[in-house]
Amino acid sequence: MSDTAVLLPDQGQTRKTGRWLYAASVTLLCAWVIVPLYFLLINTLSAPETVNSFPKSFVPEFDLGSLTFFAGFQGMLTALKNSIVVAFLTMVMSILIGAPAGYALSRFEFRGKEAFRLLILLTRAFPLPLLALPLAVMFIRTGLDDTAFGLALVHTTLAIPFAVLITFSLFSGIPVELEEAAWTLGCTRLTAFTKVVLPLILPGITASAIFAFVISWNEVFAAAVLTIENRTLTAFLLQTLGEAPLHLKFAGGFILVVPALIFIFAVRKYLFAMWGIANR
């Protein structure tokens, strides 16, 4: 009895310290992410004069001056449109190519399946700068340079590994028996897929489509190298980085970050699913 009485306060002390440490690290991590975003937000929602003046304010003014300036800046809206077009094309192509590959990986046994899965991931390890020059040359020869489609092709190769792995894990989560039951009930492979598998998998497909969209939306290197006239937003901002005023940079950054954040937040569940598979 007396033993426990002596031990208890001590244990309580360590537990308290542990909890403090935990809370502190969580706060630190959140701050790490949120503080820059917060600065982005207040500076975007402040008048250009405030942004460029000193000292800085810590509350937004809710002045749309910076954003209006951003929208009015020569070529900015075209770049935004280009970004959306390229991201949309990337999304469609990576799902059209990635989802069937994910299905095949989950449903069929074939030689080299494991190697194939690993290889898909390894494509991400290949440095894009190394590819950029030959790609640019090839694109110029084929006339794909400086087109939304050409850039979307490159972004698709970046997004496909994720599309394949996410859909693979989704398809694997659907018991084969459901499909087999559909076959015995009068379905072909195709109708079983559209009537049973697709409805079950649609939310996940949407998620991986959105993820592909974000990958393209955020990509800057290939966009900067492969486009000149039809720059996407990231490439355009990079190009104007030197001469643009501070409030334009803030507004541009904000416009870039927000959709990506919202989308990633919406699909986080499926990203965890993919990592679960990739870690195995």
Partner: protein, 347 residues
């Protein structure tokens, strides 16, 4: 008419041969049970009949039509899966009507068929639910209803009751038997539960290591096992085996006794008798009791006869204790003989 013929079917998975030269005919409207231990190839055979697996060699015929090259949907079969495979995104109604909709059946006809089948399976109050809102037993009923609604020539069931608790199993078993007897379908039912097999089957096919070792009525499989494996597999506890030595002229020495047996030239055979086919008597096999297990109506004795383990089921009004010496007389017409080389029964 939906007689099923399986002709010389074999199946290899890579270098592993899961089925060896299966030949089996299942009569129209017969209830056939495939019984065997885990891994003996029951599911594989069923899936070949369903078209979910392709046989390596051999043919499958249903109703006088060769169907082994057809996709599952064109074989006139319906299947009930072990894990039910109820579609989670559809209501119970749409699950049961799924196959009918695939046949482009008219709406009112679908409603009529679904309602009738649901009533048959006592799930008419569940029609608007989703599978996530059903218990295991209810899902099971939906799976069976979905198959029955198709009014198939052949219904295939792969351990459909194995995920249910013991009581529900008993109830569903009786119900399934009733429902299928009403319909005019030929049924193949896979199980590793011999009680289930006995109670449901018109005929049982006992499988062992990818072969069918005996296909006969439940009573025949029980009374006259064609192979030593069947004798040692069926019955709880299964048959007792004792070595028998030929003493000439069809007389065989077993432990301390001599029995009339088959008149064959072999020097040794195996003597087999079911635990419930022995009686305590003045003359009989000398048994030393090792263990007494009261089972209510009966006593299960585990004894030692001539150095071999021997089980006996006696009436529970006997007073027997471990260590007692008993004499057990075997009922002469229940004694079976097996050839130790071929494992086959000798009549």
């Amino acid at each position: 008419m939906a007689e099923i013929q399986i002709r010389n079917v074999a199946k290899c998975f890579g270098s592993y041969q899961a089925l060896h030269d299966i030949n089996l005919t299942i009569a129209d409207q017969e209830f056939m049970v495939l019984l065997g231990a885990s891994g003996c190839g029951k599911s594989t055979l069923l899936r070949i009949i369903a078209g979910l697996e392709t046989q390596t060699t051999g043919e499958v015929w249903i109703g006088g039509r060769r169907i082994d090259h057809l996709p599952p949907k064109d074989r006139g079969i319906a299947m009930v899966f072990q894990n039910y495979a109820v579609f989670p995104h559809l209501t119970v109604f749409e699950n049961i009507g799924f196959g009918l909709r695939m046949q482009k059946m008219r709406n009112d006809e679908v409603t009529r068929r679904v309602t009738r089948t649901a009533e048959l399976m006592h799930i008419e109050q569940l029609l608007t639910r989703y599978s996530g809102e059903l218990s295991g037993g209810q899902r099971q009923r939906v799976a069976v209803a979905r198959a029955l609604a198709m009014e198939p020539d052949v219904i295939l069931m792969d351990e459909p009751l194995s995920n249910l608790d013991a009581l529900l199993r008993l109830e569903m078993r009786a119900e399934l038997k009733g429902v299928l007897a009403e319909s005019n379908t030929t049924a193949i039912y896979v199980t590793h539960d011999q009680v289930e097999a006995m109670s449901l089957a018109d005929r049982i096919s006992v499988m062992h290591q990818g072969r069918i070792v005996q296909a006969a009525s439940p009573v025949e499989v029980y009374r006259d096992p064609a192979e030593r494996f069947v004798a040692g597999f069926i019955g709880n506890p299964p048959m007792n085996f004792l070595p028998a030595r030929n003493t000439g002229a069809g007389r065989w020495a077993v432990a301390n006794q001599v029995f009339d047996g088959p008149d064959v030239p072999a020097t040794a055979l195996e003597f087999a008798i079911r635990p419930e086919d022995v009686r305590p008597a003045d003359e009989g096999l000398e048994a030393r009791v090792r263990l007494v297990e009261p089972l209510g109506a009966h006593l299960l004795l585990t004894c030692d006869v001539g150095g071999a383990m021997f089980r006996a089921i006696l009436d529970s009004d006997m007073t027997v204790r471990a260590g007692d010496e008993l004499k057990l007389a075997a009922m002469p017409d229940r004694i079976r003989w097996f050839d130790p080389d071929t494992s086959l029964s000798i009549a």
